[in-house]
Symmetry: none
Subunit: 307 residues, 5 copies
């Protein structure tokens, strides 16, 4: 039973981390159908916090039950399951040891008055719930970006000391950015790079468009002819911006949630660009379970072939 070369190569990039953090990264990389491929598909369920329960779960009422998501992630052979405190507490004991979990430490909500998130969990929570990682969202560009980075700094320091991995959701928004800017290639790459600089082990960003936003950046992308016509080209650039591929980068499913073919095409492009995988929530759990299982099988398949 040789340890997969691809996992070894990834773990070697985390050279300053403790064996505990490496072990938790390894657990995620060795779980489910993608075990050993260096690719991951992670199920995140924090939409209830962000958009409210009915918007999130009414299309597939079984999903109101937190155990639904644990079981879905396990049955679909995914790599990890990420959720806020209460969601994990509602299933962590029963599913203990069956799938790596990621405790999302902060969350926003649709009633919020500010572009910020509330810290709703701790590293101690993550340890008692048996999580492999903590997750944290930053909004680069927001008036709260510095505050969020400060919070992340402190939580990540504790998490690393406790041997946990750190997953950073880096979602640009704020007064500097229009809607197109939030997913512009330069902004997405920048957001991913900032997460890497902040010490993230796993970086989650949205699939970038070919749009460019910051004037100073536009100039460079054009002068340097950085390819951005295809999703694969754009993702390749984002991966490069994560320490030249030395950090795990995963992408959300994008906006095509009603068009499965387009969604899969996007994911194929992301995979072709060298991404480490997908974090995909709404697109799956809002469908009936059979459909979700089918969709997840196809996504897993794309990444299995991409290795």
């Amino acid at each position: 039973m040789t340890f997969p070369h691809k996992v070894r190569k990834i773990l070697d990039c985390y050279e300053s981390d403790t064996p505990g953090t490496k072990a938790n990264l390894c657990r995620i990389l060795m779980q489910g159908h993608l075990a050993g491929t260096g690719k991951v598909v992670i199920l995140p369920v924090d939409q209830g916090f962000e958009h409210g329960p009915a918007r999130s779960f009414a299309p597939n009422p079984a999903a109101y039950d937190p155990r639904y998501h644990f079981q879905l992630a396990i049955d679909a052979g995914l790599s990890a399951y990420a959720a806020p405190l209460g969601m994990l507490e509602a299933g962590a004991a029963h599913f203990a040891g069956q799938i790596p979990t990621i405790l999302k430490l902060n969350s926003s909500n649709s009633l919020a008055t500010e572009q910020d998130q509330a810290v709703t969990g701790s590293v101690a929570d993550a340890l008692r719930l048996g999580c492999s990682a903590v997750g944290f969202t930053i909004y680069p560009g927001s008036e709260y970006a510095f505050k969020q980075m400060d919070e992340l700094r402190s939580l990540a320091e504790d998490a690393k000391a406790a041997g946990l991995a750190v997953v950073v959701w880096s979602y640009p928004r704020g007064p500097m950015l229009d809607k197109a800017g939030e997913t512009a290639l330069d902004i997405c790459a920048y957001a991913a790079h900032m997460a890497a600089l902040l010490g993230a082990h796993i970086i989650k960003v949205k699939p970038p468009t070919a749009h460019l936003s910051l004037p100073a950046a536009v100039k460079v992308y054009e002068e340097q002819n950085i390819p951005r016509a295809t999703m694969a080209e754009r993702v390749r650039h984002v991966v490069q911006c994560c320490f030249d591929g030395r950090r795990i980068v995963v992408f959300s499913g994008g906006e095509n949630k009603n068009d499965t073919a387009a969604l899969l095409e996007d994911i194929q492009g992301i995979a072709d660009g060298g991404a480490n995988g997908a974090i995909i929530g709404r697109n799956t759990f809002q469908r009936p379970r059979a459909e979700a299982m089918d969709l997840l099988a196809r996504i897993v398949d794309i990444y299995r072939k991409a290795e």
Copy 2:
């Protein structure tokens, strides 16, 4: 094996510091091609945070990999390498002990809505990563200057107790200053002096122009005939403002990044003015490695002759 007189003289200026801090200053002063001369050239790589990855690294894609910068600093015989948390984590184990490192504890970014920086590292991080110093940026003149000084005070107190050195980047900006004011001689000297008053061991400022900004200062500079026609004269004044040369003062490379001759002329002037050295990033790592090595060799040479 006599200990260099010039290093002894510098260390003696830090009379209130612990042997630990002195040892870390000594490590920087005894590293690379300038070892023992009392001069230093430091490679800082925080431009990815400030300007984004593509603007920083696309001109020389090898620089996307954090290990590139460690190796460049080592191979060019530099004195230390400074970077944010993630950059150091990505190479600190492999390059452990090969070059003194400086953990930049705060960072700004081009999406920021405020003239502030996020705190993105800690003294404990610096210790576990084997750093010789921590770095911190203040923006005198910004609405966040007092907050930043408070943060620096607390971090510097911890760093000194743990035997680390403290490097302060002092970059004036804010509502009191127009663009010319930010590098005006009086402002630059003032910024350097404030860093010294805040207890910095190493002070980094930008090369000053002959411009004067604060009306109350203009009067004094003219009455006292403080020479400021040449870069050397201006730097001599900044050095004087750092406790009459009793603190290490280093300068960035300035704005001439596309004109190597002008850049070297600036650096020659800075060296002639008695500066302790250069902190020079973009001007080097954005060139192909061979060119960067050549440029750094010339800068090192200027300081070696200046000793």
Copy 3:
């Protein structure tokens, strides 16, 4: 060897303080040429922070070196030397034990956008540097006055527990006050009283003018015929406002820095009014050392005769 009655009388006023704080007050009262007289002359050097280095030191370049001020205070037989962190660190080891030092814990600067100060030192810093007291500035009248008083409360609490004395610079300014108001007698007396109420051991204010500022106060001053024609009368009132002379009150040198005769006349008036002494910086270190020594000798002489 009888302990001077005047010092005993002063120390007895600090009846709730620890022996440590009394010992440190005593050290200041028993130092230099005024030892035992109950009078003090203190050298403060924080002008570099407030006005920038060139405006502070260019008229007498030897003063760029922090050690200059330690030596000046010692040689002139002064009672204590007050300065921010970096200034003290640059000489505290060499001059250890030769003159009581006061660590100024907050400082403003001419680039500041707010009428506030940055906290730039701690009680732990004061202890490791061997200081006898900490110093803190409040701006009664500023939008930041309450924040500053909160900061002072916390720092003073720590300082007192560690046996240090607390010196408060009370400088009224802010939207309620015009320029004349800042040194109006009622305002100056009020500022001194607030410092006393905040628990200061030594209170520093500016010499008051005969002007009155607060309408409600004008009425009382006139009804009660509070004398304010001469400096001595005004200072006597301020002293009275500091717990009827039961707190040490010292005055800055005022604005007459270019007219030595006027300066000395002011100081004579202040001394005649029963002040405990002077905190005088710029007026001394901006002159050539011989002149400064001469001026300080004359000020010390005024206070020696005033006892």
Copy 4:
């Protein structure tokens, strides 16, 4: 006003200490009749704890009042006064600032069942009482020696961080030593050396006899012809064992408390051997005050001439 060369030379030996600790050592070295000579005479009054009040104070009942000892030390021009918590609390406020005090942090008593001491004070106590140093006794050779060294380590670490000096009484006793062994030259030198290794700033031992105790040491003393015939020779050896004279070493008055001539002869020998001074308690406060003053004057005189 030149700072005495002898004090400078001594302070320079404490190169790793903070300015605070240096300042407190300086205070002791600049106090009383021996100010500036590099010599000290310290009054310790912990005999009440060790032998009970009547045995200590009945011969001179005025000494029951703790203030008696403060006043004696001040009036005799001594360098410092050392006592346990209660003794200092009973006078520290009244005598604040008049003489450096040393808070004895542990004490034994005649009812004790073990060769140990109780810790009866803290570094925080020393700060609130305005002490310049803390004192601690170790019994090398006792079954409690390791425990005492552990306690000293922790207290000394705190004291040094707070800028206090550390005085160690090193009194060998225990099952390995007979009565003669306790003051044997080899044992006394060893005890002094251990105090130095434990980080003491001031070391107090008993005057050594010419006796040698440890068989393995006897051999070396004889082979190396270490002179030990006279008190001066023996003290010179002890001084050498304190880092070749780089730590302040003081001696108790010895056993001749009823024979003043013999006592003074011992002290002359100790002074001739290069000791930094005397810690002398019982021999003075058990005499009528006039006699004590006379004796102390003669001891001070011996050290003044010895400089």
Copy 5:
């Protein structure tokens, strides 16, 4: 400028340690004449504590001064200098950065009544003194072995978090062992193995004899024909017992202090057995400096050739 392969190979064995600890191990491995060879010679000076000052230093009185040993280690091109708190404090500021230092955290003495050691330093002391490592002695076989291991566990945990290396002196003694047993091959190998199991980065043991002590071990050594006739064979076995050579193992100079030829022969054997080097104190500093320099040069030479 290629990093030496032998140092890389050693550092790679410490895979679970932080970059800080690796950097400090690297500093030791890259210092002095053996820099880059994977071999080290360390000067330990704790004999003053163990045997008393005269037995340690009288043969070469210059060695009473702590600075002598720093200078000897530097001038002889050694890899590090190890000593208790007071010894390091007496030179750490002057020699800051010139040679890696190891703070010995516990020490025994010849007056001790128990086979234990006192803890006389802390990790915070090591940081403020700029040390690269802490040192700790355990006595496997003593009644205090478990207590010592507990102390080591706690101190090593702190040291590792602060990026320091941990050196363990493992000296078997106690009721289970006769004199011959203390250096018996099985016991020495066992002691080295326990140090490795306790998490030591560098292990120091005494050169083993061919004697075997534990009856249960004798049987295995004989059945397995473990070679032990020569010093090289015995050392090879000890190295194997330190995780098959994956921990740095160094040996004391042995008992032949009066016979240089025998000493060098032992060291040659130790080097031939694959040891990483020597920790050698008394054998060097008890000779006149010129002789010590000569002896150290020869020892360094043995290890340079052994690489």
